[in-house]
Structures are given as C-alpha cells and as structure tokens.
Amino acid sequence: MIRLQRLIQLISLAVFLFFIIWAAYPETLDLPLDTFLKLDPLIAGVTLITSRHVQVGFLLSLLVLLSALVVGRGFCGYVCPMGTTIDGIQGAIYPKSRLRSPRSGYDSRSQYRSIKYYILLITLAAAVGGVSLAFLVAPISLVTRFWGQVAYPIFLSIADVGLDLASPLYKFFPDLAYVQISRRVSNANYFIAGFIFFVSALAIISPRFWCSFLCPAGAMLAILSRRPLIRRSVNSSCTQCGLCVRNCPTTAIGEDPHRTSFQECLVCRRCKEVCPESAISFIPGRDSTATVSTTPNITRRGILLSAFSGLTLAALTRTGWNQPRLLGQERAVTPADLIRPPGAMPEPEFLKLCVRCGLCMKACATNTLQPVWLKAGLEGLFSPTLVPRLAACAVNCAVCGSVCPTGAIRKLPVEEKIQAKIGTAWIDRQNCLVWNQDKKCLVCGEVCPYHAISFQPAQGRKNGVPVVHANRCAGCGWCENKCPVEGAAAVRVSVAGEVRLESGSYIAKAKEYGLEFKVADKNFDKLAPDTFESSGIEEDSTSENGVPTSNKDKLPPGVLDE
C-alpha cells in the first residue's frame, strides 16, 4: 500500500508538473503557475533583499516558514517537488539497502550538518550585497528548471518517437497519425540534469543529502523547527532496536532512538511505521524525548566567514567588468546579442530579480528563449536570452512575462508587449545575398511582422537592398531566423535601441522615442507566426503590404509577358 507521505508527495508533484506544463502559449487558463516558486522562502528572502521591495505574492512563503512552527520540516517531506524528485532519482539509482542511515544515526553525519546554514548565510549576505544567488541554491528554482528544461523536452521527444513507432496502428486509428509534437531544445540541459543527478546521487553518503545538508531553504525551515508543535516522541516501550534509526531518510534520529533532531526530521513518519513496539508517535505537545544537538556545530568563525564570503562574492561580481552596473559608465559592457525577453527589467534589476527558474523558457511559444552560460557574466548564468537563429519572438505572445514569478520580466498585456523594443536588426552586408552577391532576396522584408525592412535602390546593385528602419524594428528576430544565408545570418538582431522600463508604459515610451510598431494587420492579432513561405533567393516578389519596395508595380515572377 502506498504510504500517506508518498501519496501527498506525488499529488504535490503532479500539481507542480501540471503548472509547468500549463506554462505555455496560448495561455488557456488563468492559473497561478508560479505558486510553487512563491512558496520557496529562499527565493522570497533573496528577492526581497536584492530588490528592497516586498512582493505580495511572496507572502505565501511566509506561510511555509510559519508552518515550521507547527509541523517542522513537513513542507520538505510532503510538498517540496525538489525533495520528491530527489527521492525518485535516488530510489532509482540505488538499491534500498544503500539508502539506509547508519546505525549511529544523527551523530554519524555531524560533519555535514552545518553546511546548509552556511550556504543560507552566504546567499543572504550576497543578497545584501545586491547579488542574487537564488538561482544556484533555491530548491524550487532548481527543480522548476530541471522539469521545464530537461525533463519536458525529453518527454516530448520520447512521445514523438513513440508516435513514430506506433505507425502500424495508423491504419486502424488514422487520426493518431496526425498527432504531431513540436520538440523543444534547451541550451543548458546537460548541466541542469547533471546538477540534479549529482545532488541526488549524494544519497550514497546519506539519503536526501541535499535536503538534509545543503538546501538553504531547508535551513530556513530548520531554524524555525527547533520545537515544532507536532513532533516525534518515543515512549518507554522502546527497546532500542535501532530500526527507526536505520530507516530514517534524513539521519534525524540519534543513536539513542529517543533523541530526534527536529531540524532534520521531515515528519515522514517512517520511524513510526517500522517500529515493532509502536513506541513512536507524532502528537502535538507530548514530549518524552529530548532533541539532539539543536545547534549543529555552527561556529562563530563559520558564521563570520560565510557572511564575509557572501559579501565578497557580491563585491567580486560588482567589480567584474562583465556586469550591468559599471560605475561611472553610461553603458555596461554587454554582448551585442544578449537580447532579453520583451518587458525585461533594466539589466541590474533584472539580474537581481531573475531566479532562473526557466518558466519563461518553458512557456516561450517558439523556444527562442534559452538560458545563457557566461554571456551575461557569472551573475547572469542561465538567465533567459533570445536566440533568433533558433526561433523568433512570436509577435502576439507575452507569455514569458505572464509566468515570471518575480517580475524580472514584467507582466504586460500583448498590446504593450508589442511596443517593448528588445533590440534592432542590422544588415551584415558582407553576408547579405543582395549586398554581396547582388541576388534577388527579399526574405527578411517579407517575414518582418513590423514592416521594418524595405528594399531600396543602391548604387552598383541591380536589386533593391534591404534597409532596416530602426524606429519600426522591435527586435523580434523573424528576419534573422529566416535569413537564407547559412551560418551567421546576414541580418541579425543586436541590443541596440532596446527599451527596458522598471515601471510605466511601454506604449507611452515608444511614442516618446518616436517608435512606430505596426504589426502587419489586424488579422495578426492572435497570431504567433512561426513559419513563413518565402519566395526564396533567386526570385523576385511583389509585396503589397505597405512596404516600400523597389519593384512594387511589377508582376510576380510566375507571370509572363503576353
């Protein structure tokens, strides 16, 4: 029979996955898709400190913290999808016998006990220094990233292969053939998978190693779990057989089974289930047992060193050259192609808020949002960027901002998102088929949903050459995506001219800057264009959609003279 804890864990994971799957374009239901991220007290704490701003949604995590006063680390044992994921992976890679705690229980792992508190301190100190490290250590961020960027694309490709293999069945179920899956890719999936696998594999030292010894959110709960209302107690019928000690998944029980570390206890109640004497109960108030070393070897030196390390990390980040707040400079040293999603906060605020959960990248209609490695500096690891060569930003989609849990990407209505300029296309004449080879190519102009590219006569060229009208270009990347030149496209988007507002209307700002974003026509209103039929390279084409073209009055190439 399935244990109650497992059942609740699975339900919680199912809800969590449901929210991840539903983070997609088009947004069909108005669900709080970022609920789990808002429950993470570390994300809440770090974001609060770095942004110096209270976000109402994150008060949810306060409930989680307060729950520790009642059920200790019950959240970790029952709700946290990171814990459930680790349970699953460690259970899959190790036989049950390897996942047992040592006979000496709590004391055998004393050397690791303090790590999570130090990680918490480092993270909070770095946050005080204005640098968010939540993305490296916040459990819900890590696990959202894992399921959204590693598991989901794998699931899709397995399903796709499955549909291929099912081809003999198409005869009987013709509509099965038409079930078509668009696969997804992620730029950092190896690392994310490796990291989660690594922390799960640490179960070889002690089961749920991450939860017991590393998780800083767990540490926050542990601090409040010194004497929870509902806690383990052992009565006098205990024969000290040690079964509970061996079966405890977090080495929370001491060598003397009467002793429990409530900071480590996940209230899973496995000890109660295995006790042959029924000596163990989880009852409010009763206390016939002592707790074991409540302050696990946290030294003043350790505390000071952690705080100092966190502040030093922040200082190092803020004095590196590849960071968004270069003092005394008008602009940061930013790679030209670090294109942030539309509605992204100005870079310094963006990096303070973004927890790299990857929900925006999971939800992205076209898969163009990808995690960066070091392009945005160490501080920007795994933050989202557009990769237009892979896909372009769908014009009428604003799902990235809609799912962002911290407001790093602002939640904008589509009308406003269209006005949020993320960059400007530029023509690489050396690569351009028209400029360089004088071929007839109109692809970039044809696919541009904003009519920002026109073709104009140029000296020495038979064919009209593409010209970008910067004030009409939103930086969506359709031109770069569809440019027929192999390798680096001849038209590429750079961050030039990007508009990023901490608050206020993008529509008003676009007006102020003289930007004119006009999408092709009203029929585009619900459109996330992802493919365009183009007239190719060798051919001429007439465009009637208001773009000034050099050959507007000519008939298309398929029409011959009489």
């Binding site: 493919t531 051919e539 190439p557």
Partner: protein, 311 residues
C-alpha cells in the same frame, strides 16, 4: 489481351449500354448525368450562397457520386495554412469546404480527411481559418494540419524534370478520391495559387521548390503524380494581391468552379479574376502554361465544354 476478359463482362456491359441508350431515348436519364462523354469539362456556378453554388457546380459536373463511391476514403485539400480569418482570402471559404465534405459524406464516404501543411502556428491556423469549426458536424470528417515528416512517404516522380521523387502525405496517396478545394489567390512567386500550386500543401519539402529547383517546373512535376480527381475552386472571393498570405486586395466574385481538369480550372479562375490590378491570360501564368504543354490538362478554354449556372 482483349478488351473484355470474359463473355459475362461483355454481356453485362452490353446490357448496361443498351439500357442506357433506351433510357436516354425515353427521356428517363439525363445524358449529361450519365454518360462520361457528355459531362461538361468545367462548370461555373454564380450565386451569393457559397454552399449552394458549391453543390450546383459539382452537380452540374455529374454529381459527387461520380467521384466518391460508397465506402471511399476521401482527401480534401483546402487552403488553411495561414492564421487568418475567412475574410482575408488567404484560406478557402469554410462554407465551401463544409459543403464539399457534406456531399462526400452523403455519397457514403467512409473517411473524409481535410488536411493542409500549415505555414503559420498550427493551432492559430486551425482556429482562425474556421475550417475545423465549420466541418466538425460533418460525419466521418477529420480536419488536421500536417507538419511531421512521418506522415509523408516517398513517391517516384517518373515524369519529373526537376526531381525524380518527393515525399507526399500518405493519407493523400492512400485516398480513393483526392479533391482540391483551393481558393483563387495571387502568389508572390508563382503568380497565382490555385489547385495545382495548392497541392504543395500535401508534400513535405516545399523549401527546395523555392530554393533549389525552378518553382514553376516543380509545381508541374508534382501534379504529374498528385493529380486531384476533382477540383472545386472557391471563387466566392479572391485574394487579388498580396498572396499567398495577404493582406491584400480581396475581390468578391460569388462563384465556384468545378472541374476534373486542374489545368482548366486554374486557367478559368485566372481568366475570370483580376490579378495585381490587371487582367491576366492563363497562358501568362508559367506553371499553368507548362502543365498544359506537358499534357496534364487543357488551357484552351475556348474549346472546352463549359457549363455556366446562376442561382
């Protein structure tokens, strides 16, 4: 081998023929509806109601039963590859598609598959074209988009000048009846896009038509293999400029063309419409002219038996 395999078949055919002649002479059977030679080559039906003119155009051609036998698998290829509404003219009028599907269902088709290889976001195309919405009540009818390579299989193109094989939608190859239901529209690369150009929605690799081969020759190569049994062309309105995707000038025409000859149907629509602000001769459209030259159909509209109806 002799024309008839056995005496029984010879006798049966003889009897049927005699009965038909008797019937015609007695006025029981309308010749245009019974004898293949008497069917018009092409019908044009004018009228305001898209469903009625669709039905009348097909009836005048001999009726749907001529093409769809009971239990037959039918593949209908409309234009629904752009995420635009019916008013844009970039997709076939859903009322025309529904009527064709209904007629097929009434004729006893066992499966009616309505498919196009979409160019825009699939769900947006399906939603905005309104074709799935309109056809969902028609029995045995399934509307799908197609993108995935596994739905296609290689077919030899023996008469191809540009390529000798191509990947075609399996469902279309397996269908007993292939019906093209295109909308008449302009096209920035092929001049116009009608029944022949529309068949590109049933093949996998369209890009090479544009980039590697001569587009016009490729279209003709394609229709040597992928030849619709029946063309029902939506001329309720045409996308006169800005095709294939629009936006462009949409001209109401209030007509539907039906024919067994794809070349003739395309030629007729070209001749009737106004394209890019001009009248254009069918022979000016390169792929229509090549198709006629290669013997795939008739472009000489003046010599065809064309039946015009107004309702």
């Amino acid at each position: 081998m002799s024309r008839y395999n056995n005496r029984r078949e010879f006798l049966r055919n003889g009897l049927v023929a005699s009965a038909a002649i008797a019937g015609v002479s007695l006025g029981i059977i309308e010749p245009s509806e019974s004898l293949a030679d008497e069917y018009p080559d092409l019908t044009i039906c004018n009228g305001k109601d898209p469903a009625i003119i669709t039905r009348q155009a097909i009836d005048a051609l001999g009726g749907i039963k001529r093409f769809v036998k009971p239990g037959a698998k039918v593949l209908i290829k409309p234009n629904m590859s752009f995420a635009r509404g019916p008013e844009s003219g970039a997709n076939t009028n859903p009322l025309v598609v529904r009527e064709v599907a209904r007629l097929c269902a009434d004729a006893g088709a066992s499966r009616i598959s309505i498919v196009d290889n979409v160019l825009n976001n699939p769900s947006d195309c399906m939603k905005l074209s309104k074709i799935p919405e309109f056809c969902k009540e028609v029995p045995n009818t399934h509307v799908n988009y197609v993108k995935n390579e596994r739905l296609f299989r290689d077919v030899a193109v023996d008469r191809g000048t540009q390529f000798k094989k191509m990947k075609v939608l399996s469902d279309a190859l397996d269908a007993d009846t292939l019906i093209a239901v295109p909308v008449g529209k302009s096209h920035g690369s092929s001049g116009v896009s009608m029944s022949m150009k529309g068949m590109m929605g049933l093949i996998y690799d369209r890009i090479s038509f544009h980039n590697r081969y001569d587009l016009h020759e490729s279209i003709v190569d394609m229709v040597t293999v992928l030849k619709p049994h029946l063309v029902v062309m939506d001329g309720t309105r045409i996308l006169s400029t800005g095709g294939p995707g629009g936006p462009g000038v949409v001209i109401p025409m209030d007509l539907v063309i039906a024919s067994t000859d794809m070349v003739a149907a395309d030629a007729q629509m070209t001749a009737l419409g106004k394209w890019y602000g001009k009248k254009i001769q069918p022979k000016q459209i390169k792929h229509i002219r090549i198709a006629a030259e290669r013997g795939l159909g008739r472009i000489d509209l003046e010599n065809l038996n064309i039946k015009k109806i107004s309702v």
